[in-house]
Amino acid sequence: MKYVINRVGFLLISLWAAATINFFLPRMMPGNPVDALIARFQGRISGSALHAIELQFGVTHRPLWFQYLVYLSHILHGNFGVSLTYYPASVMTVIGNSLPWTLGLAGLSTIISVALGLALGIYSAWHRKRRAVNLLPTLSTFTAAIPYFWLAMIFVYFLGYLLGWFPTDHAYTSSLTPGIHGPFILSVLHHGILPACTIVISSLGGWLMNMRNNMVQVLGEDYILFAQAKGVPDRDLMLRYAARNAILPSATSFAMSIGFVVGGTLLTEIVFSYPGVGYQLFTAIENSDYPLMQGLFLMIAVSVLLANFIVEMLYGRLDPRVRRSGVGS
């Protein structure tokens, strides 16, 4: 129970911190970027919307603490202001339209990548004395260092343009009406394969190496040697004795990894013009649409923090030692 309270507390603090970073960043920047933005949009959007932006980004004579409190209360009410790019649509609407695509793409790819990475990690640790198998970790240092966006470009060029096997942009054929029907779902899958492969290949190496290292550590423990001497079959030894214990430490590195994967997903979306939060974030940045950018950043941060929270809760269930001592903090 103490563990749960501890983790919920950390979740709340980190949510608050993300919101606060979001608030102070534009105010800390040299040369006030928002002034230029407001000058640019003068006359193009309604006076009240402009005023709201002035308040949101601190171009006002109200004291800072007052702006901060207004900002926090807006966030709690799900009010992120109006998008300038998609004016008069609210930031929340744009987020609502793009978040499901990213969650679907990043979620599915992460699950595939984690499962494959852990399996290959277990395999390469078990057979670590075979030369051929030892190429696997070395190869994965290469795949892990490939920039996501570059791999995406390679796929678009070779498998998209040259061979024409896969569509090169968007999440579905634009002539189809979105809904739960065969052609649409097939189109979504067809469009999703290349972005998903990009994410899986680029993130796989990290999981693999992590799992391999943990597994090699565990395989050196005395109880493994004892079990081997006792005559436990290899398969059981590998999966039930070693892997089960080696998986646990992987959960702690999840925090760092999920941040990387989300960052990579954003870049992948940009290359594929995939209509998720990454592509929207890029659009917002290109158009200096600061309200949309702020809203998207916060939403991305919240998603990552929640994902982390869920994993830590699961981790606490899996490993009773953690519940007693607390992980990380």
């Binding site: 950390f10 603090i13 980190s14 911190a17 993300a18 970073i21 960043l25 534009p26 920047m29 040299p30 970027p33 670590r128 004395k129 970790p137 070395t138 240092t141 290469f142 795949t143 892990a144 260092a145 920039p147 966006f149 570059w150 791999l151 470009m153 390679i154 060029y157 343009y161 040259l162 190496m209 290292n213 090699v216 550590q217 050196g220 925090a255 760092m256 999920i258 941040g259 990387f260 989300v262 960052g263 990579g264 954003l266 870049l267 940009i270 974030l281 890029f282 917002a284 940045i285 600061y290 950018m293 702020q294 950043f297 991305i300 941060a301 990552v304 923090l305 982390n308 990380g328 903090s329």
Partner: protein
Amino acid sequence: MITSVVRSASPARRGRTSALGQFFSEPKARIGFAIFVFFVLIAVLAPLITPYNPQSTLFIPLQAPDARHWLGTTGNGQDVLAQFVYGARTSLTVGILAGITATAIAVVMGMLPAYRGGTFDLVVSTFTNIILVVPGLPLLLVIGAYIHQTGSLVIAIVIGMTGWAWQARVLRSQTLSLVSRDYVVAARLAGAPDRHIIVHEILPNMLSLVVAGLMYSCLYGILAEASLEFLGLGNINATSWGTMLYWATQGAALLNGAWWWFVPPGLSIALVGMGFSLMNFAVDSLANPRLRENS
């Protein structure tokens, strides 16, 4: 007097001379180091490798590789090889600088609180954990969007500031396990000042962790710099591997089939990154013999 007593007690003082030798006895370290040196040589010897100026737009655009232009030309009529070798300078410098920045912050933010303990430790390590879970790249993009077109030095520092937390966490837990070791306690009893203990007793014994972290931070730095430049958030007029990819996208290199324009920079980023992580593993397995191959 104090230092000489303590010096003999610290395990790091023993056998340091062989550390480099051990490092290079790992095949992974040799490969990683060779890759790294190869690209550093390319960067340093840039003017000897190509006679062309990377910015000059004298040539016929979008030529495929041939004897005059080994890597062809860009859509703006620049020599790709010239851009590539001069770009290596920017990419490596910014990446390594970012890695050093991140490691320096991590050493301070990881070791000090663990050594001091108490409320200070609680506050700083909570802060570190928060920075760790706030996704770095989106943050980097947002900062990049606000500061708009800045110099490479600023980019390196900003990247370093978003990428130190995981390393600080690793160093913190190692420091925690070291502060209660006998030789540290001995140094403290002998009256050595805190600064001396941290710098001369604890730090040398986690040098392998710091170096491994530095390798990893440099990998992060190079990838982050490429990502920022690719999105046009860095300095688009500088020549780097990231800006090459930015201009390749802007110039529709994919549609024009100009693979020679975008394949070399991305491939090199991955290779340099691989070099760094191979060296990282080699350092890791120095500290942890079980990870060694054929063990």
